[in-house]
Symmetry: C2
Subunit: 194 residues, 2 copies
Amino acid sequence: MRDAEQTRQLILSVASEEIRKSGFVATSLSTILSQCNISKGALYHHFANKLELGYAVFEEMFTPMFLSMWEPAVTQDDPIEGLIALFSSFADDVSCEDIICGCPLNNLCQEMANVDEGFRLRILAMQQKVNTLIAENLRRVSDQLRNDIDFSQVSYFIVSVFHGSSNLSKSTQNKALFETVMAELCRYINSLKR
Amino acid sequence: MRDAEQTRQLILSVASEEIRKSGFVATSLSTILSQCNISKGALYHHFANKLELGYAVFEEMFTPMFLSMWEPAVTQDDPIEGLIALFSSFADDVSCEDIICGCPLNNLCQEMANVDEGFRLRILAMQQKVNTLIAENLRRVSDQLRNDIDFSQVSYFIVSVFHGSSNLSKSTQNKALFETVMAELCRYINSLKR
DNA sequence: CTTTCAACAGACCGACCGGTCGGTTAAAAT
DNA sequence: ATTTTAACCGACCGGTCGGTCTGTTGAAAG
C-alpha cells in the first residue's frame, strides 16, 4: 500500500504542474495536498518546506524538460535546421493552454530570481547550460555560417526571442502572436548561414 | 494643508515604484501606506480596492512611461537609427537595479495576464499600441528597407527580444547579458536595411 | 459662528498562508 | 507475536493579507 517514492513523485508531479500554471508563490500547499489526496504531514515528511519542494520541482521536473527540448534540436547534424524545426513544430504543436502558462524557466526567472537566491542560482545555471548547448553546437558547424558570428551572443539572442514571445503571447491568450515571432526567429536563424 | 490630488499622486507614485520592484501581488497595501505615511482609510478613499489602484498605476504611470520610451525613437526621421540609439543608450544607461526589476509591462504581463482580465486587456492594448507604433514608422521608411519585411512581425520580434533579454538578465543580476543581447538586436535591426 | 462634507485615521474582521506537532497506522525486522 | 519506525494524518498556530466601518478633522460654504 504505502510507497514513499511514489508519493514523492506524485507530489512533484502535481506541484510542477501547479507551479507551471500559477507560479511558485501563488501555488498553495493546500491545493497540492487536495490534488494529491494526501495530508500536510505527508508532504512535510518528504520536503523540509515549500522552498525545498520548489527546488526539487525545478531540478527533477523542469530541468529534464528544458534539456529534452533544446538538446535534440542542436545536437543533430544540422543545428540550424534543428532549431528551425524546433521552433516551427513548437508553434504548430503548442496548445493554447501552454501559451497562457508560458515557459516555466522564464516564469520562475521573472518571479523568483529577485526573491530567492536558491532559485536564482538554479535558474542561472540552467540558462548558462542552455546557452552553452546552443553556442557550442553552432560553433561546431561554423564553417557553414557567417564568419562574424558571436556564438554566445547569438545563442542568448535566440533564447531571449523565445522567452520574450511566449511572454508577449500571454496577453492575447492565443498562439497567433507566438507563431508570428517564431516565423521571424526562423528567418533570423536562417540568416546565420553564409 | 489637505490636498486630495497630491495624496492621490503620492499613492500612485509609491505604488508604481513598489509594483515595479516587487510585482502587483507581492506589493502589500501596508507597505504603500507606511511609505506614504497615510492610513488605510486615506487609500480607500481614493481607490475602490487594490485592483483599481493597480489599474490606475498602469494607466497613469506605466503607460506614459512606455510611450515616452518608444515613441521618440521611432518617430524621428530615421526610425532604424532611432531604435539602435534607443537600445544602445538603454544598455549603457540602465542601472543594475533596473535590470533586476525588469520592464514593468513585461512583468505585469507575466504576473497578471492569466489572473485578471482587467490587467490582461490593458496590457494587450499597450502591446498593440507599441507594436503599431513601431510597425507604422518602419513602414514609413520602407523604401530604405528590404522589400520582404512583414512590419508587424518584425515589430513584435523586436519587442520580444527586448523583453526576453531583460527577463534573462534577472538571473545574472548585472547588465552584461542585457548589453550582449541588445548588441545583437542592433545588428538585427541594421539588417533590415536594404 | 455654525454647518457640512470631503479627506483621512485606525481598530477590527475573516480568509488564507506556510509551518508545527502529537498522534496513528502499516509494514518490515526480530 | 512483538517491536520498531518510516510514512502519514490533521488539528492547530502565528502572521499577513485585502477590505470594512465607525469615528475624527479640517476647511470651505452659508
